[in-house]
Amino acid sequence: MTESEVYTHQFSKHLAERQLIGSRCKRCGRVFLPPRSWCPDCQQNELEAYQFSGKGKLAAFTVVYVAPTAMLAAGYDRKNPYCVGVVELEEGERIPAQIFGVDVQHPESIRIGTPLQALFVERGEGEHKKTILGFEVT
């Protein structure tokens, strides 16, 4: 039996290594980010790791004023809001990420279509240390 070489939890390990790794179906060649371990088109699991360029553009965004607990812990709140968005990668896939290099005090100035480059953000300490996917304006 053939097996996928990619699993969901490898994504965050790759982020910690500052790499944006998705998956690619060995049969049909379709690429996935986030990585899928099962090709929905071929209905089989022969997938391999596939490195994404990290280049993309902003497809949708918001500036968040009422933050969840994890973002409050990272220092964000109503006075210090943050931008998150959906990024469309040049390979065609879409992924959610925190967006940097935009003016969060003036959300109306943020433009859909803005070119972006992946960025790796370290949060927390010790065993809670995590790398979060971000994108910044190029």
Partner: protein, 420 residues
């Protein structure tokens, strides 16, 4: 797509709900009993509730909201209906409509003739940030919640995509919230049964009482544009664009079509039902429509053999104002990109030609997550039977539709009801 039909017809013969709101110091089971009592009172003919054969309960997350899972047998026992089989149905904010669909399928299959369907949620026990966390568990927690997406943030991202694609003015969101408060003011079960003007006047009166400077709002929209009165939650969505944190329960009784008249003089027949699923928000080809809603609507219209123009009364899932605009397009009432103009022109108000959310919607009536889908049916029940009082849709509506979304569209259930 093949046309689907039920094995046999199913009708709603009774409906009731608790008032939606914050029930400090009242247990979930007692709120449920309140809705159950009102459902029994709505029966036109007497009936022994012990004839109920099975129970389906929509509940999103008693587990996280109040540390209580396994809600269905508990509610069933409190209604005095043990040992009937009791099943909890969870599809996030669409749990109530999904429970209704399961109850409908159980009757249509011929296994049961009489089924109780309920929805219940108690959200107000937790502080706001933990409610935010709990709602975010209905998104993709590995990818969306991890980078700071909250539930309002996902809908806000859809709003920016919609504004970009169709040139919509964000001012229209204020109008949708204003309209739903106008409707909710006519609904005695609504959590915020006040028009925006009343809320604004109360704020002024409170400032005078406290000896603070009195804000000079010219009108309701001036009030809604003021970030101190209506702060941003996730730009461009503000406080009055978001449905509230609510407690509440709603209950309906489903029976097979052939015995419906034994219970009710004016039963509502379920003539169409559709349900669809979808990927997480970021993984869809569009952010300006919910593909699952379009799919569920198509199934329901096909089963009912009607078009959107045949629908008289509509309750849509306006968890956020942008969601109501997108729903009005996904259900085929307006072309893609036209829904915001219709909202701006007042077409969707009770005074317009396509009234939407006569109940006040989730925004004003309240959104106790698992109860919302069943609560929508309670409104359609009142509208089609001509019992909606001051908010009655004119012209004796005969066909009603409910549109209930789970998450940001990973689930959508559309049901269509007819008074014959």
């Amino acid at each position: 797509m093949t046309k689907r039909k039920l094995g046999r017809g199913v009708a709603v013969v009774a409906a009731g709900m608790s008032k939606f709101g914050c029930y400090n110091g009242m247990a979930t089971r007692d709120i449920f009993v309140e809705a159950y009592r009102e459902m029994l009172a709505s029966l036109d003919h007497g009936f022994d509730p012990r004839e109920i054969e099975a129970v389906y309960i929509g509940n999103y997350s008693g587990d996280l909201f109040e540390g209580q899972a396994h809600m269905a047998p508990l509610m069933t026992d409190w209604a005095g209906l043990s040992p009937r089989p009791a099943t909890r149905v969870e599809d996030a904010c669409a749990s109530g409509s999904a429970a209704l669909r399961q109850g409908m399928l159980a009757v249509a299959s011929g296994l049961y003739d009489i089924v109780l369907v309920g929805g219940v949620e108690k959200m107000s026990e937790l502080p706001t940030e933990r409610v935010t966390d709990t709602l975010a568990t209905a998104s993709d927690v590995v990818y969306e919640a991890a980078v700071g997406f909250t539930f309002p943030a996902l809908y806000a991202a859809m709003a920016t995509a919609y504004m970009h694609e169709y040139g919509a003015d964000p001012e229209v969101f204020l109008q949708v919230g204003y309209k739903n408060h106008e409707h909710g003011a006519l609904n005695p079960k609504a959590q915020f049964g006040q028009p925006i003007r009343e809320i604004m006047e109360a704020r002024k009166a409170s400032a005078i009482r406290k000896g603070l400077p009195v804000p000079e709002w010219k009108d309701e929209f001036d009030f809604l544009r003021d970030p101190r009165a209506n702060p941003y939650i996730a730009w461009p969505l503000r406080l009055y664009d978001c449905s509230p944190i609510s407690d509440g329960a709603a209950v309906v009784l489903l029976v097979s079509e052939e015995i419906a008249r034994n219970f009710s003089e004016a039963p509502l027949y379920i003539i169409g039902s559709g349900q669809a699923s979808d990927a997480a928000t970021h993984d869809r080809p569009t952010l300006t429509s919910l593909p699952a809603a379009r799919q569920a609507a198509r199934q329901a219209y096909e089963m009912a053999r009607i078009t959107p123009q045949d629908v008289d009364a509509v309750e849509v899932h306006d968890c956020f104002t942008i969601a109501e605009i997108i729903a009005s397009e996904d259900l085929g009432f307006f072309e893609a990109g036209e829904g915001w103009k219709a909202a701006e022109d007042g077409v969707t108000s009770l005074k317009g030609t396509r009234p939407i959310n006569s109940s006040g919607g989730l925004k004003s009536k309240g959104h106790p997550v698992g109860a919302s889908g069943v609560g929508q049916v309670v409104e359609i029940w009142h509208q089609l039977r001509g019992e909606a009082g001051e908010r009655q849709i004119p012209g004796s509506p005969a066909i009603g539709l409910t549109h209930n979304v789970g998450g940001t569209g990973q689930t959508c259930v559309v049901n269509i009801f007819e008074r014959r």
